[in-house]
């Protein structure tokens, strides 16, 4: 079995199985209905969904792996690949769109040489577009990790990005 698709770095992510097991039991009552939230917790912990962790969830909750794969590809917040140290979420919701979010996005794409959903080679940034983070009055909005940068102008992007190592 090849992990080529989910492990492009070639490094097997080290999974802390005991911790994972306890989380599924204690926080999520071993309940299948909580699958989405379990996956979210895994992604918070590892920054993406490592395949071995998904296999473990599959065994533990007796959910076929195919269904876990289905869920992790259906919902847009899940990533099956490791992401960068800094997540740039650019809002492309309607309010930001009419205030020029596309220009901002293009500018980031050309300056970092990545497209939406991709990670820079040095793993410094991942660019993701999101549709509305509920701060429309500050549009166009770029969220980097947990920081919100509102009313951002194309010529400010460089300085803002440089703040994140």
């Amino acid at each position: 079995m090849s992990n080529a698709n989910t492990q492009p770095t070639g490094v097997e992510e080290e999974i802390h199985y005991l911790e994972l097991d306890q989380m599924i039991e204690k926080e999520f009552n071993n309940d299948k209905e909580n699958l989405i939230m379990i996956l979210q917790a895994i992604q918070r912990r590892y920054n993406y969904l490592p395949r071995p962790a998904l296999s473990y969830v599959s065994e533990k909750l007796s959910i076929p792996y195919s269904r876990i794969y289905e869920v992790s590809t259906f919902y847009s917040t899940f990533s099956l690949e490791p992401r960068g140290r800094n997540i740039i979420s650019i809002c492309t919701g309607t309010a930001c769109h009419v205030r020029g979010a596309d220009r901002i996005k293009e500018h980031i794409e050309t300056s970092l040489k990545i497209k939406d959903g991709e990670t820079t080679e040095d793993k410094r940034y991942t660019l993701e577009s999101v549709r509305c983070i509920g701060c429309c009055s500050l549009g166009p909005v770029v969220k980097i990790n947990e920081d919100m940068h509102g009313r951002i102008a194309t010529d400010e992007i460089k300085n803002v990005l440089n703040q994140y190592e």
């Binding site: 869920v71 847009s76 309607t94 009419v98 429309c136 500050l138």
Partner: protein, 637 residues
């Protein structure tokens, strides 16, 4: 402590009413919803806390948001016997001076004056008429307007948003102080389920999540079906550009919990679920706190207030799928599955979540319920129009001067919202359209701005009420691009299980993209219309059936823009890059050199005080110069 009756509540209410309205200290309320925090409210809060850490006479508090996002961070300061003043744009470097200014009654100092938004005439919500206006005996400050008279607030009637910005969302006691849980406890002890349902029916309340289904009828049908009934709150708020639900959850989470409790009581259910969008971490945090507090007071859990009624609420988060806002998809997602809508041969009120009878309502719908029960159906029905009762919250965003969250009685004309409360467009730009209903809605042109906010009337002009996003567009918004934008959104969000939606959206999008790139052909418009009708008629769920609305309304009202894209290869709004150029108007250019300095391509050259020249070969149409020029010398050709 377990609360047993309204009498228990009254005691706490009395204490907290004093704290909220006639505090012994100077009380500083800082608006701390996501949007305020993004504008710097957290830093403002911390700066104030730090500076006045040892000062017992100043109390720094957090509140939700009064909705005037344009001028965040917002800070209100009050003290017993003094006017309550709301300050705007209070960043961390300003807060200390402003607090001192308030304490010294110094409102004329320039540094403070420019931050004054207004003084509050009456801080009571519509539910608090059992109390005298705490500001009644206070002499207002001369020369400062009342907040209620400022354009953004004039004409607003707040029912769903009644407490947002006026209390600490992390304090259940303050919610008690604002009449919280009285409606529920009163109904629990004194009303039959049928009476609650009748009240909701008679209030005329319709679902605020977009569809506008009468809430009372939904409750009544759900109650009729036997089984393990569930009460679900839809907080998926997927319409990009709408954030009413976020603001309610962040500013007044207990109002939603109380609404759900009343629904549980009326329908006969002990299971509550709130499905929150993944992008709203602060809303989740405030809900978790609120549920813990309500449980500690015995308002959630088993045998509530010594009765047989039990009710628990679980919070689940979404994971970024717009279609999960649709009722059957949401229920599948709650079950831990992918969110693919089901055909509704059997309604969810009969067989929904876990195949049991399920009542699903939107956040704002639930937030209205306690008000209806407390004040009575006729009171609620006295607002609004014949078929649209009550009030509706909107997020007014886009190219409008006063962006923010507002709540108005149904029936007021769209133009009042945009031009009176919103004060029109910033700068000299011309209004083009307002978009309501998000990806399922339509664009309403200037000529139809007299249309009132009303379910039927909005539908008659090809749009929908939707969940409440209202996006203002100006002459720099290209309507073909807007249609393309929504289809691009829906192409990503379609669950893909039915052909008309999956393929129809993709084909329409390809045509629109070609038009925007200058490859449009004669006959494209007609093809889009034909495809639109097909998608509307044959898609399985609401995502598909409403998907063509943005395309069809823009064609209906802005056909000439499509035609000029296709025939003249021109985008007059300056959005579609292949279809316009920036040029410098020699007569208008003052040679200020700003554009030349800012252009990332060094495409603009010229000497100081001389008209500049723009090299089309180098220009990438980033628009930086267009935005930067103060003399309107850069023009779209």
């Amino acid at each position: 402590m377990n609360i047993q009756s309204v009498k228990d509540l009254e005691l706490i209410k009395k204490e907290y009413r004093l704290k909220l309205n006639l505090p012994d200290t100077v009380k500083v309320n800082i608006g701390m919803a996501s949007c305020g925090i993004a504008a710097g409210a957290r830093e403002t809060f911390n700066a104030a806390k730090e500076t006045f850490a040892d000062n017992d006479s100043i109390d720094i508090c957090q509140t939700g948001c009064i909705g005037y996002c344009e001028v965040e961070p917002l800070v209100e300061i009050l003290a017993k016997g003094k006017p309550r003043v709301m300050f705007k744009k209070v960043t961390s470097d300003k807060i200390v001076d402003i607090i001192h200014g308030y304490m010294d009654n110094d409102f004329s100092d320039k540094k403070i004056k420019k931050h004054i938004l207004g003084q509050i005439r009456d801080p009571r919500s519509l539910l608090e008429e059992d109390m005298a206006n705490p500001q009644e005996q206070v002499d207002p400050i001369e020369g400062i307007p009342f907040l209620e008279d400022i354009p953004f607030f004039k004409g607003q009637v707040k029912i769903a948003l009644r407490n947002c910005g006026y209390m600490d969302p992390d304090s259940i006691e303050e919610y008690f102080g604002k009449q919280g849980y009285i409606a529920f406890l009163d109904a629990l002890h004194n009303a039959k389920p049928q009476e609650i349902i009748t009240a909701v029916k008679e209030s005329g309340l319709r679902g605020r999540g977009g569809g506008g289904f009468p809430t009372g009828i939904k409750w009544a049908t759900c109650a009729k079906h036997d089984g393990q009934r569930s009460i679900i709150c839809n907080a998926d708020e997927g319409d990009p550009g709408a954030y009413m639900d976020r603001s309610i959850l962040e500013g007044d989470p207990h109002s939603v919990i109380e609404g759900m409790l009343i629904a549980g009581l009326a329908i006969g259910s002990s299971l509550g679920f709130i499905y929150v969008r993944n992008e709203y971490p602060l809303a989740v945090k405030r809900l978790v706190t609120a549920i813990k507090q309500a449980t500690a007071y015995g308002l959630l859990g088993d045998n509530i207030a010594g009765t047989k009624f039990c009710f628990k609420i679980k919070i689940s988060t979404g994971a970024g799928a717009f279609v999960c806002g649709e009722s059957t998809a949401l229920m599948a997602s709650l079950e831990g599955k992918v969110g693919r809508p089901k055909a509704k041969y059997v309604h969810t009120v009969e067989k929904g979540f876990r195949d049991q009878p399920t009542n699903l309502n939107n956040v704002e719908t639930y937030a209205n319920v306690p008000a209806i029960i407390l004040k009575g159906a006729p009171w609620y029905a006295s607002f609004g129009t014949d078929n649209s009762k009550g009030t509706k919250a909107f997020s007014l965003v886009g190219k409008v001067r006063n962006t923010g969250l507002l709540e108005v009685p149904m029936g007021i004309p769209l133009k009042d919202i945009v031009f009176s409360l919103g004060e029109g467009l910033p700068g000299k730009k011309k209004f083009k359209a307002v978009q309501t209903g998000g990806p399922s809605g339509g664009c309403i042109p200037e000529a139809l701005m007299d249309t009132p906010v009303d379910y039927q009337q909005l539908a008659s002009v090809g749009s929908i009420m939707g969940s409440g996003g209202m996006i203002v567009m100006d002459e720099n918004t290209c309507m073909v691009d807007v249609a393309r934008y929504f289809l691009d959104f829906l192409k990503d969000e379609s669950c893909g299980q039915c052909n008309p939606c999956r393929e129809g959206i993709k084909q329409s999008l390809d045509i629109l993209t070609a038009i925007c790139e200058g490859e449009g052909k004669e006959g494209d418009i007609e093809l889009l219309e034909e495809l639109g009708v097909m998608i509307q008629r044959f898609s399985l769920c609401g995502l598909g059936t409403a998907a063509p609305n943005p395309v069809l309304t823009t064609i209906k009202y802005f056909r000439e823009e499509y035609e000029s894209h296709i025939r003249d290869k021109k985008c007059k709004a300056g959005v579609c890059k292949n279809l316009f150029m920036y040029e410098i108007d020699e007569d208008a250019c003052t040679g200020c050199t700003i554009c030349a300095k800012k252009c990332p391509q060094n495409a603009i050259t010229g000497t100081k005080k001389e008209p500049h020249v723009l090299d089309q070969d180098k220009c990438i149409k980033c628009g930086i110069c267009y935005d930067a020029c103060k003399f309107d010398a850069i023009v779209i050709k």
